[in-house]
Symmetry: D2
Subunit: 371 residues, 4 copies
Amino acid sequence: MAQNAGDESRELRELYAAFGDEHLVPLWTDIADLMPGQPTPSAVPYVWRWRTLYPLAQRSGDLVPMGRGGERRAIALANPGLNGLPYATPTLWAAIQYLGPHEVAPEHRHTQNAFRFVVAGEGVWTVVDGDPVAMRRGDFLLTPGWQFHGHQNVTDRPMAWIDGLDIPFAHATDTAFFEFGPDRLSDERTPQRSRAERLWAHPGLQPVALLGRRPSSPLAAYRWEFTDRALADQLAVEAEGHQATVEPGHAAIRFSNPTTGGDVLPTIRAEFHRLLPGTRTVARREVGSSVWQVFSGTGAIVVGDVRHRLEHGDLLTVPSWAEYRLEADTGLDLFRFGDAPIFEALHQDRVEVDGVVVRQAGRSIATGSGR
Amino acid sequence: MAQNAGDESRELRELYAAFGDEHLVPLWTDIADLMPGQPTPSAVPYVWRWRTLYPLAQRSGDLVPMGRGGERRAIALANPGLNGLPYATPTLWAAIQYLGPHEVAPEHRHTQNAFRFVVAGEGVWTVVDGDPVAMRRGDFLLTPGWQFHGHQNVTDRPMAWIDGLDIPFAHATDTAFFEFGPDRLSDERTPQRSRAERLWAHPGLQPVALLGRRPSSPLAAYRWEFTDRALADQLAVEAEGHQATVEPGHAAIRFSNPTTGGDVLPTIRAEFHRLLPGTRTVARREVGSSVWQVFSGTGAIVVGDVRHRLEHGDLLTVPSWAEYRLEADTGLDLFRFGDAPIFEALHQDRVEVDGVVVRQAGRSIATGSGR
Amino acid sequence: MAQNAGDESRELRELYAAFGDEHLVPLWTDIADLMPGQPTPSAVPYVWRWRTLYPLAQRSGDLVPMGRGGERRAIALANPGLNGLPYATPTLWAAIQYLGPHEVAPEHRHTQNAFRFVVAGEGVWTVVDGDPVAMRRGDFLLTPGWQFHGHQNVTDRPMAWIDGLDIPFAHATDTAFFEFGPDRLSDERTPQRSRAERLWAHPGLQPVALLGRRPSSPLAAYRWEFTDRALADQLAVEAEGHQATVEPGHAAIRFSNPTTGGDVLPTIRAEFHRLLPGTRTVARREVGSSVWQVFSGTGAIVVGDVRHRLEHGDLLTVPSWAEYRLEADTGLDLFRFGDAPIFEALHQDRVEVDGVVVRQAGRSIATGSGR
Amino acid sequence: MAQNAGDESRELRELYAAFGDEHLVPLWTDIADLMPGQPTPSAVPYVWRWRTLYPLAQRSGDLVPMGRGGERRAIALANPGLNGLPYATPTLWAAIQYLGPHEVAPEHRHTQNAFRFVVAGEGVWTVVDGDPVAMRRGDFLLTPGWQFHGHQNVTDRPMAWIDGLDIPFAHATDTAFFEFGPDRLSDERTPQRSRAERLWAHPGLQPVALLGRRPSSPLAAYRWEFTDRALADQLAVEAEGHQATVEPGHAAIRFSNPTTGGDVLPTIRAEFHRLLPGTRTVARREVGSSVWQVFSGTGAIVVGDVRHRLEHGDLLTVPSWAEYRLEADTGLDLFRFGDAPIFEALHQDRVEVDGVVVRQAGRSIATGSGR
């Protein structure tokens, strides 16, 4: 050991300088930051108001042409905790996309997984893997990784919707590929039902010609009419005294991949929640981040100690392991997406309900709730 | 070696006698039977006519009371190759079940998996796990193993349908358990939609409160309206020039478990096929046995060299590895069930199409079709 | 209903006669047999003594030539409950196979899965998929379905061992294929270690060039030295106070497929058990049948109320759902194989320990033991 | 559209300013960076020399005490492309850890998965989940997430080794939990074989008492003697003309989880490669990053156009999708770890060999190599 404090201090400085020269960093000075007791997200809960978002998207429609190179008129939510990066959370990208009357967004493909959710409007067809898919209010639409896709607005009115992708995750892990496709859409027709729906949107039925597990759902469109009815059904079954809802007055469906029963995309989970007027949910914490959007009604999401009031179209980010509760004033319909499939696949998931861990590392913990 | 032929013969006789005494059987005399070059089923292709079956069921309704002990007024197809055993094939049990006006079949449960298919009629509710499920023409209904179930006819008309179970398989392998339930149905209501449907019959949507993989489908009823539409959609998509059908003019759906994407029951596969008028399919052979029933139309199934003409309600057994082709005169709708999930789970599956093995031991063989 | 008893009786007779004519069988008269409360195996517990088996095999060696057609000098255990069929249980075939000095059993392949267990002796090489595998006392050796295999005895002494296959299961389900191979072995060398062992018998290590899940284990030989050591290690760890054994004084290993962590063959489970002198195990019942063979020591297996005393080489069948307990006089080493993988794959498994169901339909039931 | 360029420019500036105010970022200006044609890692290939690393670790041993708070005397490789963060790659943390004579590193646990690889030395026991595991030259040792672990050096000589963890991945995704354990080790004994090895290090054998799939391998130590023998065996089998090696002269084993056949940890893959003198491998690119360390011999890894000469103990990072080739001067033994399990689980994997994509999105592409 060094002979005295001064020597030691000098020697330590020299050691740390040598670390720097050699591209080394000691753990012992950084461990509290690197390995905290629980997740300490940089991302923060934050609300983007639809009444702000939509006019800015509209203004972009006036000023910014659509086309090759820029590819999409999409404006991303940049979480204030993430240093200006265009990321809603560390793993998720969320944007409002806007397509003016008769505009076309040219085809491209990328390994990032994508979905669209339509909070209002209609009139755009997204062409996914050569299959034109109508986009209408309340619909949830998929563009799995590496499928060519473009959009066209066939009406005289603009349309906007929400895009969700795993861009930040793919970027952080250096896994993404991208290719331009044709400038013109591969199929310009505008059928009411896509081929994907005609083949896959029949409950519990699969086309024998197309059987087989797929990492992403082959069902390109999850229509509002089905979502709405499923939620109403859950509440009706609950009212008859049977198990159906997450908790009293709180119905929820998960969009799923019919070929596996799992999530629609390998990296993204999507759900729709409906709360009866006056419902207050229990508190919940989950490893992984989420974005919530109000589809209809008014209410609030309380994250930690802060109550975020929300109305039609508003978006809120909930960081990993932040405690949150939902509150409905009127009946409240909420769309939600998150990154949970990543952590469940890697056994890093953890879920706490009302202060009790109910799921950890791929395993349910509560008695009787199986895996 | 023995000194001469006579001695040897005597010594061999003594050896074989000793085998018999000690409960031993030499392989070398039996190997051709025990380990044939390819499956040599005892079961035979055989047709049961609806015009024969239904009147006999009706007659049973007149003569045989329903109730505890007998449990069900079900009359099983006994394959002529199987020595009078009440087995349609070595693994599958199939029966016509008949319930007179206002009759009740009391509740019981068994580990054997069961389904019902309704070729005609309506008016019975089957109560599965406490959930009343309407039975109507064209519906495919599930009773997974170990769920209590009973039936009631609430009308003034009798109703008959087809039951399918894995009784022979369970019997051969000594795996079955059975319990009587209450004599009265646990829920006598007659809703148009069961709870199972309200929770699970929304395409690609799962109730968050009930998530998790299950060995059998939680969807108790697959309604005809969905099956019919899915088949019509496939043929329409094919007509537009896209891949959708098994082969030209031959649409097919598989009933599936939405929690896994796999078969509805661990031991039973069920499908519905629709052929356009005049369609002749390619020849096909599969390890495992099937039962086909004509739902509507007329046509034939050719098994080996024999052409079996079929019409509404007729049932045909197709033994393992028998080559078969479908032929439609009119448009032809066919229900089919089989035991393929057993052999796929155990990597004993083999499928030949038009003389070429396309799947073997859990693996697709044809280029590009791998799972 | 019929007017009087006589008429009714006649009408019923006519109905039943019609059933017979039409290849139909009513359920209501047969349900108790077809769907019993619990498994009612025809197979019985039965002991084949090594001191009887081996001399008969030897005698066959004197009298019955080996070669093409007969293929193998194997003598099968025919369970006395199974009507003279050469089946140890409804799913399992078990035989003693005997190869005289310098004899060769020619190559063939079949979809039935096979293993060999060597209760005594050495000097035979089995050539599996072109890879010569030495057979020695205590070794457990695999011949997965559809791999060519033959045997040669390179010594001046005969050798006998036990074969286990899923012949009855394959026969009952009509799934089996068989092909003759070359009369001469494809590789006549006699290495101490097979290629399979050199590639796969390193604990937790897999060859990168051969990665991928396989339905059957690629490890052709599980050597006695490893089995012996694993069992000794378990007992030593138990003695130090840590969880290692099935129950006090009862060590057990399962032979496993290193590419999946599951059973060695899709249809057959194999284990080795070691009991310390004086150990009496708790009672156990399992869906599915097993065959036990004593490798060394003396003791008993109590099935139901009957105590079967066993010594070196003796084989005992345990039918499905029969309660059994193991008892060791001396230290007792037991090899065991069974059909459990079939039932676990199909969610038909059930296990009871000491009167309590601990596993059912693919799921552990005891608290905290979930998979 | 705006009336003239000046107005438009002003209006655009106002729009972009509004984006900034509202925490929004347009995609069209960033898409080339966010969604590049192929991965564009910030991390760079970089070599850390053992002859530099080890003396700095030694110097730390002189100057920095070990203990609670600092927890470990570990010095992390900070990839020069990653802005001074202590990350070897965007997902992987790698460090040299140094424990002086008779020092103890106290127990803690974290959800991050960890391993140790010993390039030289011995004398430390790592206590994982209460089980003391000896660390010796060439050994690969596991500390799966959430298991308590500490280390002690029981000798008069210091010891150093390499740690690998998924800290950057866990940090980026906000998933990590950490807990302090006791200051004193839970078991201070120093057995030659750990309990984990006595229970799990028998090839293809699993303890019946501990069966079940686990996300991480239960085998705490993969000993050099087995790794060395497996690699030698592969080369010997190759020399006899059979498939065994990745390519001529290039043997490789993957450390695997015996309960699943998959990777040892959900987020980390580990392999050992051996090249015969003079071997040059084909070029390879993979989605995901790796760290290589030379165990013995001299040679080079060529990444892109740069040839990195390496010798005993040197570490090299290979970023995602960088093309690399291995070159052996002498016989060359290399340890390697990477993050591939993350991307295979999420179907984001892609592998190119010699310019041809052979695996993509969970599926082998080359004929006949499918899983």
